[in-house]
């Protein structure tokens, strides 16, 4: 059973129908790219998956989104654990108004993770990323001697995972808003991962970044997809071709085509998809 199944999803803002009857499965452990012209409902579809869409005004959602078989729109559903499980990375990174350290520690703290649980979380993370040194032995040893050393270690591991540690290790108490936009986005990725999500939703995560930071984020996604299901909204076809395994093409709120990225992005069946990837509709 796939992690995420979308069944007859309809979303409207007031009288405007943004998504018209979407039914699709999103494969596990892969990067799924949602592509389509501006205003076709890509972001709406993405935000429907962890109910962030409900923060918008006058929004109405019909249909089901099943995650691990549970309908997230069930009135009994636990929205807090849903959002913990399905992390979100926005287009423009938005640091929390606190230090770099606290930006990472905030999520685990509100979910009440401490002491031994933190060490278990770090072990799990190391298993997930065997080729990546997220927790060097010397960091672990020094952390053990300090008070609240576990949280320090957790912050270090996630910053290393996001490739940000070397740039910020000497200024963890500095305001996160002082970082560059590219660094802020990697911080946002680390913060999203720090609450142990299983799915990562990313809404054009590289669109406001410089090419180098964008490449770093793409590399992170390539590495993370082994353990996380990644859904990516992107405007650039080249990015989709570079990193996506699966692709969904939306046009005016309807799903026109979906399938393996190699097929949808290079040899599509539908005329509209052809027109989009050849640049005729933007």
């Amino acid at each position: 059973m796939p992690h995420i199944s979308i069944r007859n999803l309809k979303v409207s803002y007031g009288a405007h129908n943004v998504l018209k009857d979407i039914t699709v499965d999103i494969p596990d452990g892969q990067i799924t790219a949602i592509i389509g012209p501006s205003g076709c409902g890509k972001t709406t579809l993405l935000k429907s998956l962890n109910r962030l869409i409900e923060l918008q005004e006058e929004v109405k959602v019909e249909g089901n989104v099943l995650i691990d078989g549970d309908n997230v729109y069930d009135p009994q559903a636990d929205i807090l654990s849903l959002r913990k499980k399905v992390g979100f990375l926005s287009q423009k990174p938005c640091p929390l108004p606190m230090s770099i350290y606290d930006n990472i520690a905030f999520g685990p703290r509100i979910h009440g993770v401490k002491g031994k649980q933190i060490l278990e979380q770090i072990e799990e993370l190391e298993k997930h990323c065997p080729n990546y040194e997220v927790c060097p032995a010397n960091a672990r040893n020094t952390a053990q001697t300090r008070k609240n050393g576990e949280m320090d270690l957790l912050v270090e591991c996630y910053l290393r995972l996001a490739g940000l540690w070397d740039e910020v290790k000497d200024r963890l108490r500095m305001s996160a808003s002082k970082l560059s936009v590219g660094q802020q986005q990697r911080l946002a990725l680390a913060r999203t991962l720090s609450v142990k999500p299983e799915v990562i939703l990313a809404d054009e995560p590289t669109s406001s970044l410089d090419p180098v930071s964008a490449r770093l984020i793409e590399e992170q996604f390539q590495m993370l997809k082994q353990n996380y299901t990644i859904v990516l909204v992107t405007h650039t076809l080249r990015q989709a071709r570079r990193i996506a395994d699966h692709a969904i093409f939306l046009y005016l709120g309807e799903m026109i085509e979906q399938g393996p990225a190699s097929k949808v992005l290079c040899a599509p069946c539908e005329a509209k998809t052809c027109a989009y990837i050849s640049g005729e509709i933007i």
Binding site: L55, I110, S175
Partner: protein, 282 residues
Amino acid sequence: MDRLLEERLFKTLMLSSLTMVVGSLFAVVAVVVLNGAPALTPSMLTQTPKGGYYLGKEGGILNAIIGSLYLAFGSVLLALLISIPAALSLQRDYIKKTKVAYSIRLSLDVLWGTPSIVYGAFGFTVMLYLGMRASLLGGIIVLTLLQIPIMIRAIDETVKLVPAELKETSYALGTTRFETTFKIVIIQVLPGIATAVLLAFGRSIGDAASILFTAGYTDNIPGSLLDPAASLPLAIFFQLGTPFPEVQQRAYASALVLLVIVLVVSVASRALGQRFSKHILR
């Protein structure tokens, strides 16, 4: 029209407005200082009025200084405790219907513009009904009522400026509305809270009409919340009302004390505001 002429014309216009504002402020301060400074003796600040003080004999206005500080700080504290949650509850996160929030804001604006003597009369009526005497407590409560609309609206305006992306980022980590509001949004509105405190403090320490009947006036320093309390605005009023020039001079000296208190509180709250707002997003 010649654009350079336009530029010059408006520069002159702006500068003359500014000169008028600063000039009239300066004139007020100058009158107070010139008239008040000679009468401002150490005994004015350290003694309560002795018999015949209002005829030009010995004594000071310590009763009014202490009374005003009790009244102002007591009411600011009480008003803050009520206004912060009230202002935060006006967010769309809590009140979904924008019309309801709109009407609440409108009524607060009307209350803001209500003359303070109306608050005084209201407070006096309630106190008569409850069989209370004019007291420090009565004054604090009426001043609190006077400040609440100012504080709520001042804080509310900064809450409205909190970026939607910030709340979205916070909710995406699986936070409750309470955690988002009281751990994230509130950090971002701290400068707004400092401004609100300043506005409300200024209004409450300078107001005479609302406390005339509710706090009363006395030559003693209040020993409990149920004792009547003197205040600087009323001390100024009573002293200016005497036919003796030396007592009228003391009124100016009292006004000078009031100005200095407002200045000190303004500088202090600004400094505190900056200290606590180092992490906020700009």
